[in-house]
């Protein structure tokens, strides 16, 4: 079916989310808590748009709003822009020192809020992506704690988690870089837990934790695969193909 976004006619499948349709048509809608791999947080509310149907306007988050009828969508009306600015203002009050949020603030010409008290070193905006990532990986080492204005993300009892394998998936998906993964030569420390890093058999780089290897072996069953880092693994696979198909090196 066809929907109109900011005046542009766009094709959409029934059930598709507005955000995906917009992105496919090169219409920009800002997001923070959205990830194509881990969709559905809908917590930051930055991707709000107006949906107009039968003369009625309603405000929805485009990341989880499904297309079911041929509607008109406005992504940047004065009202929407004003609401986005307020959201950014509140985020900035929460994480005043955060680089990503400050960039966003400048992009939307939102002055730095000075009226509120803030924790100077807070970086987390509680988008929920890290929790979802850890759950998807299969570990659920972190979760949201409490609720309301005291809500936070942490490991149980704020202690190093037995379940955590130090993969850093949480840090990778975090939109504000709030999760610190400290890398030293042969160790990684994340969520207060120190991991020994194992080195690549080929290039010697320390890149993966012992726990990650064990986890993968438990899941995949095999034990005879060599431990190779991503780039060496790719090189290894290309070499295998080359040998298999006798492709001459260029």
């Amino acid at each position: 079916m066809n929907i109109t976004i900011d005046g542009k006619i766009c094709q959409a499948e029934a059930g598709e989310f507005l955000l995906a349709v917009a992105q496919r048509n090169n219409i920009y809608i800002p997001t923070l808590c959205h990830s194509d791999a881990l969709p559905g947080q809908a917590s930051c509310r930055l991707c709000i748009v107006e949906v107009v149907e039968n003369g009625q306007h309603k405000v929805v988050t485009s990341c989880v709003y499904p297309v079911t009828r041929e509607v008109e969508v406005i992504t940047n009306s004065a009202k929407i822009v004003a609401m986005r600015k307020t959201i950014i203002m509140l985020l900035s009050a929460r994480v005043p020192g955060n680089e990503e949020i400050n960039k966003l603030r400048e992009e939307y010409s939102v002055p730095k809020p000075t009226r509120f008290t803030s924790a100077a070193d807070e970086q987390c905006i509680l988008c929920g992506l890290c929790v979802k990532a850890c759950e998807t990986v299969g570990l659920a080492a972190i979760s949201t704690i409490s609720r309301g204005i005291t809500k936070k993300v942490a490991t149980p009892y704020d202690e190093p988690s037995e379940a955590c394998m130090g993969c850093g998936a949480c840090a990778q998906v975090c939109p504000t870089g709030a999760i610190s993964s400290r890398e030293e030569k042969q160790h990684r420390t994340i969520w207060n837990k120190r991991f020994e890093l194992i080195s690549c058999k080929s290039c010697g780089k320390h890149f993966i934790t012992k726990e990650q290897i064990e986890y993968m072996r438990n899941k995949l069953g095999s034990t005879d695969d060599e431990i190779l880092c991503e780039s060496c693994k790719r090189t290894h696979i290309f070499k295998k193909f080359k040998d298999l198909y006798g492709v001459a090196a260029k």
Binding site: L139, A140, A141, I142, S143, T144, I145, S146, R147, T155, P156, Y157, S161, E162, A163
Partner: protein
Amino acid sequence: MAMEKTSIDFSSTHKVIQKYPQEKRYTLAILQDIQREYNYIPREALLILAKYLNTPLSKLYSMATFYKALSLTPKGDNIIKVCDGTACHIRSSMIIIDEIEKSLHIKPGETSADGRFSLETVNCLGSCAIAPVIVVNETYYGKVTAARIREILGEYGGN
């Protein structure tokens, strides 16, 4: 904060949880039964439950901190609940809370250092006709005034 008791009988944890099927939807009910059994949710009990339901510890910890009926730290011997429903609030429940704070040196959500009293504010108890209301353990006190607080606390050995 009252200290976590070191010698707890966890055989009763098994008895409590085995009353329920191993299904996720009984999580809250089981946690509440554990809460009633020990007056809080001991860490060990949470670990046992995680195994029973085959659910991550973090998930149970999340539930235990989200739902205010559950507590991860032991409550005091006497639990004082001050109703802060709207009717009680406009009949000055805040004054009552202030007076209790003055007497026991604890704020709502805290337990006295000697473990004798916990203070909580609760949502409407549905006894608006006798507002402001406080409940100590299971006993209701209605039309409470700042002056009566010391008297009431005295019944439980306060001050």
